[in-house]
């Protein structure tokens, strides 16, 4: 079974004269434990594709299946609890890391667990363990603004991993980082894909960052123009 199946998906923003086709007829599959990159220039539709899979951007046509659940088939499947799908099956990592500014590193991770009905104590233990494994044991009580870019991004990764999601979606996770930190984050994602057996889909426009990825899709003007298999 695939973790992600994208079947002939098209996304058109707007209507009539101002309509923009951001993705057209995209099809691909990602297996659990695979680390896949979507590479393309600005405006090519990478974020649109990622957010459609992430259940926050409704596709216009086509089918999307996440962890065996058909979520979109010419629009969202009616009656589906998208929020629940998001909190149980998906983990998000974004460029602007989106940590909650008034929560400490530890609490930012705990929040993801608590909305998934983990009791507070258990959530705390698990979040602590996760942050320690990402080398953030010293920063548990720090607020996001006191963290470096790399540290903040690792907290965001910890939050995305907290619920052991089947699918992790990352949009330019390294854009705010220097090359070295960026490579570290990518290496971390790689090891997580293997360890957790999660499908990880990473959007980037930086060729240098995709070393070690299992597969790379190149996107231009909304269409996947090339698929290359990486070293892995």
């Amino acid at each position: 079974m695939y973790a992600i199946e994208v079947d002939n998906v098209t996304k058109i923003y707007g209507k009539g004269d101002t309509a923009v086709t951001a993705i057209s007829h995209a099809s691909f599959q990602v297996r659990p434990g695979e680390l896949v990159a979507i590479l393309g220039p600005s405006g090519s539709g990478k974020t649109t594709l990622l957010t459609a899979i992430g259940l926050i951007n409704e596709p216009t046509h086509g089918r999307i299946i996440v962890d065996g659940v058909t979520v979109a088939d010419g629009g969202w499947v009616p009656g589906l609890d998208l929020k629940r799908m998001r909190r149980e099956k998906l983990g998000f990592i974004f460029q602007a890391h989106n940590l909650i500014p008034f929560l400490t590193a530890l609490e930012n991770v705990m929040v993801a667990l608590e909305i998934n009905n983990f009791p507070s104590g258990e959530a705390k233990g698990r979040a602590e363990q996760l942050l320690k494994s990402l080398n953030l044991g010293q920063r548990l009580g720090s607020y996001p603004m006191a963290l470096s870019g790399g540290e903040a991004q690792r907290v965001a990764i910890a939050r995305a991993l907290a619920n052991k999601p089947r699918v992790i979606l990352a949009d330019e996770p390294t854009a705010a980082l220097d090359t070295e930190n960026g490579k570290n984050v990518m290496a971390l994602l790689k090891s997580l894909a293997v360890e957790n057996h999660s499908a990880i889909l990473v959007v980037t426009h930086d060729h240098r960052m995709v070393e070690g990825f299992d597969r790379i899709f190149e996107v231009r003007d909304g269409s996947i123009i090339r698929e290359t298999c990486g070293a892995g």
């Binding site: 149980e88 008034f102 929040v111 909305i115």
Partner: protein
């Protein structure tokens, strides 16, 4: 983990300042309510401490507080003899303003029959008036010391006792003297004025040519009595014997004695509905306006604090938070702010209300109602923020 509390903890400076500001506003709302109640208490103070069942006043007047009423002192004997009346005493009221230490000194002077109804309620210091003349009991608010002397009319009066919070319906503190003294202060301006007045009336009578000799002489003889009659009071108050019918006694006095007998209830109505009605409405309206202002301010605060959190809310939605998490955060913050502001307002008013120049009466009921209103305002105000929050798209968390 409580997101509302975490946010407040992080922005504690801003939250505390906002709550204090709102607290000051609620303090004003509370004091306005207290002033409103105080107005009642003041208006009814003399009425309540007199504890009379009936107030006998001049016919066709709403005296003695709302309108002037003058009746002869000696009708007290006639009132006393009405079946059903146990006690009757005359009372005289006048507002006095004199200079004291260069400042205007205003008070309400009550003259009463020593041993009769209507004397000072409770003596806090010193003693009651014992001598028929030149002794005085003053309300604490007059800030006079025992033994202090004050000149009223032709004589000096000595403060022998201090009583509690008795004020006139316009809030001036009350002082008590014997009825005879009060009448003297009221009528015997000074001897020259009396003599002049007597001569003026006599001269007028001389000019009346169509009076017969004997008529003129009779009038002249009585002029001095007429101009010097000081045995006038403003009201005679009465207490009924147990079992006496208020209405019957009232009717009897009105029918046979040609005076108006107002029950305590009637007097209350005259004082509250008539005299302080406008002030009461003014304060009531002001209080409503202040509450509306508080409501608008709370809504604005909640709304802007929600706008500040749009990204946080979008992120929470992105990671799949249930709506109750987001609604709870906004609602709890709003309520917490309301409760803290209420506490600040309450502390403020509790510490200062005794220092207000006029009486502030803080009634538990008013405070409870205000608390309920604050809770409702906070809840309703947070709906504005909640509505905004629920419309936030999770995709809004993505924009750089």
């Amino acid at each position: 983990m409580n997101l509302a509390i975490r946010d407040i903890r992080f922005h504690r400076g801003r939250f505390i300042l906002t709550s204090i500001g709102l607290g000051l506003l609620l303090g004003v709302v509370m004091s306005m309510g207290g002033i409103y109640r105080g107005l009642f208490a003041d208006a009814l103070a003399v009425l309540h401490c007199t504890k009379a069942d009936l107030w006998v006043v001049q016919k066709d007047t709403n005296g003695p507080f709302a309108e002037s009423s003058r009746i002869p002192e000696d009708i007290k004997y006639r009132i006393k003899s009405v079946p059903g009346v146990a006690e009757a005493s005359p009372l005289s009221f006048q507002t006095i303003q004199i200079e004291r230490a260069g400042n205007p000194f205003r008070f309400f002077l009550i003259g009463y029959d020593l041993g009769g109804i209507g004397g000072p309620p409770a003596i806090l210091a010193g003693r009651n008036i014992r001598q028929k003349h030149y002794e005085m009991v003053v309300a604490k608010a007059m800030k006079m010391a025992l033994g202090e002397k004050i000149r009223l009319g032709l004589h000096e009066y000595t403060v022998v006792g201090i009583t509690g919070k008795v004020v006139s319906s316009s809030g001036d503190p009350a002082a008590y003297v014997s009825l005879a003294d009060a009448q003297e202060i009221q009528f015997k301006k000074d001897n020259d004025a009396i003599r002049n007045n007597r001569e003026r009336v006599a001269a007028d009578l001389d000019r009346l040519e169509n009076l017969t000799q004997s008529q003129a002489q009779f009038l002249k003889k009585n002029v001095s009595d007429l101009t010097e009659s000081t045995h006038t009071v403003n009201t005679v108050v009465a207490r009924l014997a147990p079992g006496a019918g208020l209405h019957e006694v009232q009717q009897r006095i009105e029918r046979w004695n040609h005076y108006r007998a107002i029950s305590e209830e009637g007097q209350t109505k005259i004082l509250t509905k008539g005299m302080i009605e406008k002030a009461r409405m003014q304060l009531g309206l002001f209080r409503v306006i202040l509450l509306v202002i508080s409501a608008v301010i709370i809504s604005l605060i909640i709304y802007t604090s929600t706008l500040d959190k749009i990204r946080v809310i979008a992120t929470l939605k992105l990671i799949g938070s249930q709506n109750r998490v987001i609604v709870g955060m906004i609602l709890q913050q709003s309520l917490l702010m309301g409760v803290i502001a209420y506490a600040v307002g309450y502390a403020l008013i509790s510490l200062t209300y005794e220092k207000f120049p006029r009486r502030i009466v803080l009634e538990a009921f008013d405070l409870q109602v205000l608390f309920a209103i604050v809770v409702v305002i906070c809840t309703v105000s947070s709906f504005v923020g909640i509505r905004k929050a629920l419309k936030v798209e999770p995709a809004e968390a993505l924009g750089g």
